[in-house]
Symmetry: C2
Subunit: 337 residues, 2 copies
C-alpha cells in the first residue's frame, strides 16, 4: 500500500514556489496493535502553514525539510486495531499533506456526519471558526452598535468574525480582494459593507464604509488594509491580532503600521494563537454550531481536487485567490457523493 | 504690569523651528474678585507639546495659533483676592509658556516646599512620574525577575520607569542618547544596563543587555529603538505605549514596527494618556514620594534659564539633547536661592 505525501523540499525565501515542495510516494507501514489507519478526505489549507515552512523563531517548530507538510484533516477510518475506532468512522486529525495517516488514535476526534457536514470540522466549526470566536468575542469584546472591520472577509476566519459581529448587534465591514467576494460578503453573509482592497483607495473606501469609525479591527492581514484601519480607530479600540498574511511572503521584515493612532486613541493590540485557547472550544461550539445549523452563519468552501494540486492551491491562498475556506479534497467524500 | 508670553506663531510641518514661536509682551489685566495672580518659577517642557502644536486629530485640542503654548508650571502667588491663597504660596498650575498666570484658583494645587523641592511637582512627583507609574505598574504589571526596557532612560519618565522596575525586582535596561547618559543611568539610577542608541547597533546591544529578552517594553520613543525591542519580546510581553517622540518631528507618517513578534509572542500593546488616570495619583504619591525622599528614586533636572530660551530648549528635548527632566526657570526659585 502506497501513501502519497507532499514534502517540504526547501524553505522559501520570500514567495512560496513549486520548488519548495516535493511529491513522493512511500510505502505504508503495517498496522500495529492499538493503531488506527485512515484515509484523508479533506486537507485544510491555512495561512499559518507559511510560518511552518520557515525556520524563523515562531510559536511552533517548523516543518522539517524532507518531511510532509503539516495540516488539519478530515479522514475516514479504513482499518483499526483500536477498540475506540471502527472502519467507516469519520475523524478529524492532524495528518498533514498526505493520503493516509496512522497513529494510536489519541490524536483523533470522532465526527458525527449527521450533526454537520464533515468538512466543517476543519472550517467554520473547527480551528478557523474558533480563531474568529476567540479573537472577536474574548479579545475584541464587541458591544452592540460598535463597528467591526475584518479582512479576508470571504475566508474561513473573516466570514465568521463578520457574521458573529452582526449577531452581536455590531456594524460589520469586510475587506476582500474582488468585487465578486465583496458582493458575496454583503449579499450572502449579511455584512453591512465590504471594501475591495485591490481596486479601491482602501483608506477612503474604509472611511466611507465606517461612518462611526472602527471599534474592533480584527487583524489577520497586515499591509495596506492594516495601515488604513489604524488611521480610523476609535477611542478604546481593540485589535485582536491573529495573522499578517499580506506579509508572510515578504523577504525580510515589512514595516508595520504607525502606532500613533493606537496611542492617541488608547487602543489595545493583542496577539493570540488559537492553540492557546482550546479550552474555549465548548463555548464556541455551543454558540456557533446552532447558528450554522440555522443558516444564520453561512460558510463557503473553495475545494481543490487532488493532493498533487495542494501546493498550487496553497500559493493561491497566500495571494487571496481562494474564495471561501481553502480545502483540498484528497479522496472522495462518501457523505457527499 | 507686563506679561511675557511665548506664542505659537505657526504650526510646524516636520521639524519644529524658531519661526513656529513668537515672544510677545502683553499687559496683564487687573486682578478681579476671587482671582489669584502668580509668577511662574518653573515651566515643564514635555514631548506631548509637539502634538499640541499640530492640528492633526489627537486626544486634546491643539494650541490655537497666536495663543501661548500650554504647559505645566510651578509658580508663586504674588497677589490674591481669593481666601484660599495667600501671597507667597507655591502652587502647581497649567499656565503655559508665560511669566504670569491669573485665574479663580480652581486650577491650582498648593505645594508644601518642606515636603519636596517645588520643581518635583512637575517632574518625578508630577505628570511624568505618574505616567511612569501607570504605564509600568498598571499596564505593564511587572513581576520580579522580568526584564523591563525603557528608552529616554535619563529623562523624566524613563528614569522613574527603570528605578520603579528595579524596586519591583525586575532587570532594568535603559536606552539613552549618549555614553554620559548611559553611565548616569547605570551608575546613579541603578539600572542593570543601558544602550547608547546613537552609537551602538541597537538590536545587538539590546540583545546583549537583555539575556532573558524583554517582558515589558515601555514605549515612549518609537523609531529604531522600538524596532529592536519588538524583535526581542518574550511570550506574553506587555508594551505600555505612552509616546513616540522619535516620530513627532517626522513629515507624514513614519512606518511602525513589524507586528509579527507581537503575534508570535501573544504580546499586548496598550496606548494610554496619563490624563485618563489622574485617579491613580494618590496611589502613585503614596508609593513614589517615600522612595524619592529616601533617595531610592533619584531624578535629575535639565534647567534652562529664562522664558526666551524655551523654544530652543524644547527643540533640544525633541532631539534628546536634554539630560534629565527638561525645565525652564522662568523666574528665580526662592526655595533654592
Amino acid at each position: 500500500m502506497t501513501n502519497r505525501r507532499v514534502l517540504l523540499r526547501s524553505r522559501p525565501s520570500g514567495k512560496v514556489g513549486h520548488d519548495n515542495f516535493e511529491i513522493r510516494d512511500v510505502a505504508m507501514p503495517a498496522l500495529g496493535d492499538g493503531q488506527v489507519l485512515r484515509r484523508t478526505i479533506y486537507l485544510s489549507l491555512d495561512p499559518y502553514m507559511r510560518g511552518r515552512m520557515s525556520d524563523a523563531p515562531s510559536y511552533a517548530a517548523p516543518v522539517t525539510v524532507g518531511e510532509a507538510m503539516c495540516g488539519h484533516t478530515v479522514s475516514q477510518v479504513i482499518d483499526s486495531r483500536n477498540a475506540s475506532f471502527r472502519q467507516g468512522d469519520f475523524v478529524a486529525a492532524y495528518d498533514g499533506w498526505q493520503q493516509y495517516g496512522i497513529s494510536d488514535g489519541r490524536d483523533l476526534r470522532k465526527l458525527d456526519p449527521q450533526a454537520a457536514p464533515i468538512s466543517t470540522a476543519i472550517g467554520v466549526l473547527g480551528m478557523p471558526g474558533l480563531t474568529a470566536f476567540v479573537g472577536l468575542i474574548d479579545i475584541g469584546q464587541p458591544a452592540a452598535g460598535e463597528t467591526v472591520v475584518v479582512a479576508a472577509a470571504a475566508g474561513a476566519v473573516g466570514s465568521v468574525v463578520g457574521q458573529l459581529a452582526k449577531i452581536r448587534g455590531c456594524r460589520s465591514v469586510g475587506v476582500a480582494g474582488s468585487d465578486a467576494k465583496c458582493r458575496y460578503v454583503v449579499d450572502e453573509l449579511g455584512f453591512d459593507a465590504c471594501v475591495n482592497y485591490k481596486q479601491d483607495d482602501v483608506y477612503t473606501a474604509l472611511k466611507t464604509a465606517c461612518p462611526r469609525r472602527i471599534d474592533i479591527y480584527f487583524e489577520n492581514v497586515g499591509g495596506v488594509v492594516s495601515a488604513a484601519a489604524f488611521r480610523l480607530l476609535n477611542r478604546g479600540a481593540r485589535i485582536p491580532l491573529c495573522g499578517l498574511i499580506a506579509e508572510y511572503n515578504a523577504r525580510g521584515e515589512a514595516p508595520g503600521p504607525n502606532l500613533l493612532p493606537v496611542l492617541v486613541n488608547r487602543a489595545m493590540i493583542r496577539g493570540f494563537i488559537v492553540s492557546d485557547h482550546v479550552d474555549r472550544t465548548v463555548a464556541f461550539i455551543a454558540e456557533v454550531a446552532p447558528y450554522v445549523r440555522a443558516g444564520r452563519i453561512k460558510y463557503r468552501e473553495d475545494i481543490t481536487d487532488g493532493l498533487d494540486a495542494a501546493p498550487e492551491a496553497f500559493m493561491g491562498l497566500l495571494e487571496g485567490r481562494n474564495f471561501g475556506k481553502a480545502l483540498v479534497r484528497v479522496s472522495p467524500d462518501p457523505t457527499h457523493p
